[in-house]
């Protein structure tokens, strides 16, 4: 089993992720944020209808197109681009340090600690009927799987195939897919935790829940 405590400590060392903001297209850049340390906000509102902080405008063909901050965070670096300079598409403009939220930290820990069962092919997935029924009545963590169990149905091009599970025996701790949406090949479908480790993982999650301080 992966040592979740040390992962958590590791995250605590640098409790953020860095996001590089690049020019989405060509044009002349006009920075709206120009100080290192500026706090920025991501999109907000019930429907994310309010855009994030305006970072820059990229003027192309007389059209000043806004570049907004994708997440909350702080500007930590400006790349080597001068204000009002022409930039090519994809040119890095600045880096934002985004402090991890509780949810994000939990996701990271779980993705490392659990055995991830990945999509063998691109397509839409759903649980087989018995498992689905069990999940609906007793919740996700009631389902135990072992090597070779038929757990999922892959629906692709109007054909359905059952997908057997490969990996260690355990319970389905969390699932990452939505049966309405197509999953890319290689993307995680669900995470499995051996039964004897459920307690440990729970403890870590509880610790994050109570102890993690979200930074802005």
């Amino acid at each position: 089993m992966i040592d979740t405590i040390s992962i958590l400590n590791e995250i605590k060392q640098a409790p953020y992720k860095e996001i590089t903001i690049s020019a989405p297209h060509s044009g002349r850049i006009e920075f709206a944020v120009d100080q290192i340390g500026t706090r920025v906000k991501g999109a907000s509102g019930t429907w994310f209808e309010r855009p994030g902080t305006l970072l820059a405008r990229l003027v192309r063909e007389g059209n000043p197109k806004p570049v907004y901050a994708p997440e909350n965070g702080e500007v930590v670096k400006f790349h080597d681009v001068n204000d009002r300079e022409f930039v090519q598409a994809g040119t890095p403009l600045m880096t934002i340090r985004h402090f991890l939220t509780k949810q994000e930290v939990m996701d990271i820990i779980l993705k490392k600690a659990l055995h991830l069962f990945n999509a063998p092919e691109k397509g839409r997935y759903y649980f087989v009927a018995e498992i689905d029924a069990k999940i609906k009545s007793q919740g996700l963590r009631s389902v135990s799987v072992k090597e070779g169990d038929e757990v999922l149905i892959l629906s692709r091009m109007k054909r359905e195939t059952t997908i057997p599970y490969h990996g260690p025996q355990g319970i389905i701790y969390t699932s990452y897919f939505n049966s309405n949406e197509s999953v890319e090949m290689g993307a995680p479908l669900f995470g499995v935790c051996p039964e004897d480790q459920v307690k440990d993982i729970k403890a870590v999650i509880d610790k994050i829940q109570s102890g993690w301080e979200e930074q802005e």
């Binding site: 429907w47 209808e49 192309r60 063909e61 007389g62 059209n63």
Partner: protein, 670 residues
């Protein structure tokens, strides 16, 4: 400002108090405290007993009104939800069936602006439309008359106002918020609110002077409270008198004279409150005339005496012509036509048989074949009439197309739309994103050129001019600017035009003129357009290029256009006209909640926003967070508020199609 405070005071008299004290007994319909479809609207069947001589009469009335409930939370401050107004309408119709008068009591700061079915605006429109033709006397008593909420039950034959009440196009706070929009602070200062309230002329005396209420009931100096029994006595007297008067004024002339003279001296005389069929018609006609005559001083008409005479002569001429053409001759002609059609059908069938036999013979002749081939032109150039090409109508070039720049489609994130070059977008695509179909706003001139047949537009009543009847600060200047900018004298342009040869009368609200807001001038022009359509027996099209609502700076002069215009639309529809409404960009508030929303055929252009109040107002008044697509036309269609959505590039075809399918041969007149 004192007035507003008095009216909103939790101790102010409310509808329940009035039911208890003005009427002799009552039964509340469809509500028990908070158990009601909408506790802010109450309905009651009440009666008034009158002792005349030795006889006692019970006179039933339908009482309808908003209930503020002395600040009870669930009453929502008298702000009625759409379904509350629907309930009111239902019982107005019951009153009509039962042939009893309606007493409505207005205690509302405004309607609750949600779009859930039946929709704030559409339901108010339905109410006003129904009241425009309801065949029982309606007496309205106004304590707090806020905007559309008041109009929903306020179209009455007699309007009585409480001396400390207010009647206004918008709450003074709302007006201040709009007026003070430019200032930095979001909350309007008390001074500005007071100033707005004074300028909007919202008091009972102001409204009496302007002619929008008929009488005032005096209240005690600090306003009526539940224990002011003297006030109830006065109010009771007034509503009885008002009802009597309405009835008397429409009874047969002889009766009126004889009784009215006596009655004026002796209020004890009993008047029966039910109406005969003839009287009902007179009642509705009188109501129409009453509102038709209101607010006529609140706009300017710069046409010369000669023009006016000419117009009058023309109108009379058209009336006579239409009478002869449609009423007199038309009826006979239709009979003849029907006969002719039958005969024609027979002849056709006969001829078909003959020619068929003949043509099969014909085909066998050598040399004839070649001709036939040429008719179909399988290998040679065919003739293609120029008129069939759509481009014929694309000669207008939008000024927006003359800029070398690109625009970003608002859906670009979702649909991956590329930026559009202005000359392509506005010159070729009619302002429609070529990737996702989003419609950018186009200026109204585009429609003039692309919907109507070329050179078929004849504007009329252009000299009627928007003015500043309340001398509201700054409005005159703003209007002058708008007039200069647009070259129009009001936000409503009325004209006759043809759509693929079909003659129509159009009233167009221009978004560029003060947001397409409707004041006394716009209302008057709209009414005259409806009258013209009726007189000339043409379909009537309201093309809403955009409207922000009633022009608030005109106060009740603007608000009154809601019932006024609706009455004229109803008159047009009842005489057999076809009334279509097309919403283009953003259409909100008063006009939608009355003369536009009452049309049975309302269509929206894709990307139009349609609703009662904008997102900001909804958030402020209800505290609800509404999704960004709340007012989109597709939502309006799903909620049943409109009847269809059109693509801008197709309006001309769709309008023509609609005119042909809904009107058909006898389109303009039954």
């Amino acid at each position: 400002m004192d007035k507003v405070r008095i009216v909103r005071h939790p101790q102010r008299v409310c509808l329940k108090d009035i039911l208890e004290n003005v009427y002799d007994n009552y039964t509340e319909i469809g509500g028990q405290g908070e158990y009601s479809i909408d506790p802010s609207m109450i309905i009651a069947r009440a009666y008034i007993t009158r002792n005349v001589g030795k006889k006692t009469y019970k006179q039933p009335v339908m009482v309808i009104g908003q209930e503020k409930g002395h600040g009870e939370e669930f009453r929502n401050g008298g702000s009625v939800k759409p379904w509350g107004n629907a309930k009111a309408l239902e019982y107005m119709k019951v009153a009509e069936t039962e042939n009893i008068p309606i007493h409505s009591y207005i205690f509302t700061p405004g309607s609750y602006p949600v779009e859930d079915y039946p929709g704030a605006a559409q339901q108010i429109a339905r109410n006003i439309y129904a009241m425009a033709g309801i065949k029982v006397p309606v007496v309205a008593v106004i304590s707090e008359g806020g905007s559309g909420g008041a109009e929903a039950i306020g179209l009455a034959d007699t309007r009585i106002m409480l001396s400390h009440g207010y009647y206004s196009v918008i709450s003074p706070e709302g007006a201040a918020a709009i007026e003070g929009r430019s200032s930095a602070s979001r909350k309007a200062s008390g001074k500005l609110v007071e100033n707005c309230a004074r300028q909007l002329k919202i008091t009972a005396r102001d409204n009496l002077e302007m002619g929008y209420v008929d009488r005032i009931v005096q209240e005690p100096p600090l306003g009526a409270r539940p224990d002011h029994f003297e006030f109830y006595r006065k109010l009771r007297q007034e509503v009885i008198l008002a009802t009597d008067e309405i009835i008397l004024s429409i009874r047969g002339v002889k009766l009126f004279r004889a009784i009215a003279l006596r009655k004026l001296n002796n209020p004890k005389i009993y008047v029966r409150w039910s109406l005969s069929t003839k009287s009902k018609e007179r009642l509705v006609w009188r109501r129409y005339q009453k509102y038709r005559g209101l607010s006529r001083w609140a706009f300017e008409d710069s046409s010369t005496g000669f023009q006016r005479f000419k117009n009058f002569a023309l109108e009379t001429g058209w009336s006579i012509y239409s009478f002869l053409r449609y009423e007199f001759f038309g009826r006979h002609q239709r009979a003849i036509t029907h006969l002719a059609e039958d005969v024609q059908g027979e002849v056709h069938a006969l001829m078909d048989r003959v020619t068929h036999r003949f043509s099969s013979l014909f085909k066998k002749l050598p040399g004839v074949k070649k001709d036939r081939e040429d008719v179909c032109q399988l290998t040679t150039l065919s003739t293609w009439e120029a008129g069939m090409s759509w481009n014929e109508h694309c000669r207008y070039v939008s000024p927006q197309a003359n800029q070398d720049k690109t625009l970003t489609c608002p859906n670009s994130r979702k649909s991956n739309c590329l930026d559009l070059w202005a000359p392509d977008l506005f010159g070729d695509f009619a302002g429609v994103c070529s990737h996702c179909g989003h419609h950018f706003p186009m200026e109204y001139e585009w429609y003039l050129f692309n919907i109507f047949d070329s050179r078929s537009i004849r504007e009329f009543n252009a000299p009627i001019e928007a003015s500043n009847p309340l001398e509201f600060d700054g409005l005159t200047h703003k209007l002058d600017k708008a007039k200069k900018q647009t070259g129009h004298k009001s936000a409503c342009m009325t004209f006759e035009a043809k759509i693929k040869g079909i003659q129509v009368v159009v009233a167009m609200l221009l978004a560029r003129f003060r947001g397409g807001s409707v004041g006394a001038a716009e209302g008057e022009k709209f009414i005259r357009a409806a009258e013209q359509a009726r007189r000339k027996h043409m379909p009537f099209l309201a093309y809403v290029h955009g409207t922000a609502g009633i022009r608030i700076q005109e106060g009740t002069n603007g608000l009154l256009q809601m019932p006024r215009c609706t009455l004229s639309v109803r008159r047009y529809l009842e005489s057999g006209g076809l009334y279509l409404v097309v919403y283009d960009t953003n259409s909100y508030a008063g006009p939608l909640a009355s003369f536009l929303g009452c049309s049975p055929y309302q269509f929206a252009i894709r990307s139009a926003n349609i609703g009662f109040a904008g997102p900001g107002v909804i958030r402020e008044t209800t505290g609800l967070d509404i999704p960004p697509n709340y007012h989109k036309s597709f939502q309006a269609l799903s909620r049943g508020h409109i009847q269809g959505i059109w693509d801008r590039r197709e309006i001309r075809n769709n309008l023509h199609h609609a005119l042909m399918t809904m009107g058909g041969e006898f389109l303009y007149y039954r």
